[in-house]
Amino acid sequence: MDKLVHGEKGTKMMLLGNEAIVRGALEAGIGFSAAYPGTPSSEISDTFSRIAKDAGIHFEYSVNEKVAMETVAAVAASGVRAMTQMKHVGLNVASDAFMTSVYTGTRAGLVVVTADDPSMHSSQNEQDNRIYSKLSGVPMLEPSSPHEAKEMARKAFDISEELESPILLRTTTRISHVRGVVEFEDRKSGKLKGHFDKDPFRFVTIPSVARKQHKILLEKEEKARKMADVSEFNRIIGDGKIGFMTSGAAFNYLMEVVEDMGIDYKILKLGFTHPFPSGLFKEFMEGIEKLIVVEEGEPYLEEYAFVYSRETRPEMRIYGKYSDHFPRLYEYNPDVVEKGVSASLGMEYRDRKPEYADMKLPDRPPALCPGCPHRATYYAARKVFMKDKDKVVYPTDIGCYTLGIQPPYELADYLLCMGSSIGSSNGFSEVTDQLPIAFIGDSTFFHSGVPALINAVYNEKRLIYVILDNSTTAMTGHQPNPGMGKNGMGDIAPVISIENVVKGCGVEWVRTVDSYDLPALEEAFKEAAENDGVSVIISKHPCALLESAAKKKAGTFHTYRIDQDKCIHCHVCSKHLACPAIYITEDGLDMIDEKQCTGCGVCADICPAHAISEVKE
């Protein structure tokens, strides 16, 4: 029995922030969730997918965040409580639907979770999505802990219904991926089926309707501001002379810093941060002598502090990012906050890190896994195009295969966002003499590769589009996608054939090859380079992590070993293929670490001395 689903009021569980959000949604009586995975939001969807049947709700993986947003907006408009969750840049994809869903408003509670990634642990930018709430007029909640994330997820549905507006629940990596003690409330049962009561002069946003709805939106924002002023998620802690305003993860660091430093503090801890609770802020300002704003990312709260301190405390100096006391860059931690607080108070700051010899340690960046089929594709591409390095350009995309940027492959030259490999190739192919060789994964292809491919065919581009099809969404944790034959409920689903989609987009030159078949790959690359048009190579092999696990289960798993008598020490396996399972000993011998080997056999295929073979015992 899953405690997350069936745990009763008062149950305490160690939960990830992301798991806590799911529990909060269950307590609120959610009926439906749809999403595209993206770190650090992915475990919300993983958890929904795992428990959906048990909890009696519906969960589905959408092809991208925009489709997910459109899906949940319609679900909530039909009276069923719904949630979608995405990483911060996912909201960029969903933003077109999101921005106007605020105009139509919602009937049942509609919660949009955005998980931001300060410090970019797994992301291509560091945007602060709190600004989306200001841009859209959507109310926003920002938790500081897993328990608060659960509580806010639960209450978000009520706030959303009261305002008839979608609501943003904004986390960061250190909320989503923090595990803490969460205490349960009872689960409310919610509706799974609804009915769409037609109201075209609300839900069809033609200009005359939109003009009316924008006015209603501003009225809702004013109502929400009053709710924020009295919200249980906005509170004042302490009654000292030094005022701090904070939200999200920064609150945790601040609490420890002020206690450790023995500061006479008064903290305005904000959780309902849009609309800004200006009334509560003015109340908080009474009696404090200084105001220090501690928040990760952009000076979001700080700007409101400037606006709303003008009337009552115009003389107040505000310490924050505009005064250069706190950074706008990267995630905070206790040290960053202590440094900023010390500087604001004119106190000396000393880093506590101990002194030790600066030993030159080799880097340990993330790498393609041992046996990864992408590595085999990259090895073949490099072999064919290495000598013409300057005549080709490698636009890449978002997924494990982005790690192709690393030596020895170095097959990544340009990346903006999901789908940009083929999108940008449209430009490179037109104005340069470099042949674009674009790499994209199967899930990313479905997400946003298709329109750009149609564009390439339509505009008669010359480029090679390599679809690295490992039949899963590997980077975010092996979620299903439309090519996999499985859906978000764990049931069998129709398989969308990538080859048929490519052909349907009008591509005439398509080859599907096994990623481990190096001669076939090389041949395909050579032929594609001669083709005057759009060439698509589908390099297909299951993710090595999944395949090796399946082989172990079936009892057919074997690792590989190098016969040291036959090895000629050419290092093709260790240095050119650069599989992390192959290392060189102090004596210069190439060895396979059988702990790491996944048994793909690619090293055996490329070994010129035929010195590598399966371990058969």
């Binding site: 803490g180 945790n252 002194e355 010899a357 030993m359 790498a367």
Partner: protein, 197 residues
Amino acid sequence: MKINIQIVGVGGQGILTASKILANAALADGLNVIMSEVHGMAQRGGVVESSIRIGDVYSPIIGNGKADVILSFEPMEAYRALDKANKDTKIVTNIEPMVPFTVTIGQGEYPPVGGLIEGIKKVTPHVYSFDAFALAREAGTEKAANVVMLGALSALGILPISPEKMKETVALTVPAKFRDVNMKAFEMGFEAVKKEK
């Protein structure tokens, strides 16, 4: 009370499982606990860090110089984590290296393990180093190396959680058929530290 435990190593070594066991044991003993994990791109064979803080704590991240324990699954990663240490920090480290691919392709050299341990001892004398993977193999499976490390952590005597509660949580977490192996692994880690103390 605040106990700060920094766990470091390489993706795939079972660090997240070990961290979860520790956190669940703390919760089972009625303690407040908060931990942070690494997911996503940062996990593919890269450095993995996890912080576990027990007691009157808010921040899931441990500040510089504030770790009570650094539990390292890889000797070089123990050295890389020294910013979190102070002269009283207890450092428990496995000594079997995981050589990163950057070394194989000629970008940098893996320092001698002896040199790493000596360097660590210049920050704190409380260093316990042993081959956790060899012990795990002896216990029955290399996969139990994370439980060897938990046993070692438990033997330091600074956790507010009893070794029995830790073992109980391990037993609840691992699949039934690996229970005995893991109990043995826990004991072996426990003894490895105890005999050095």
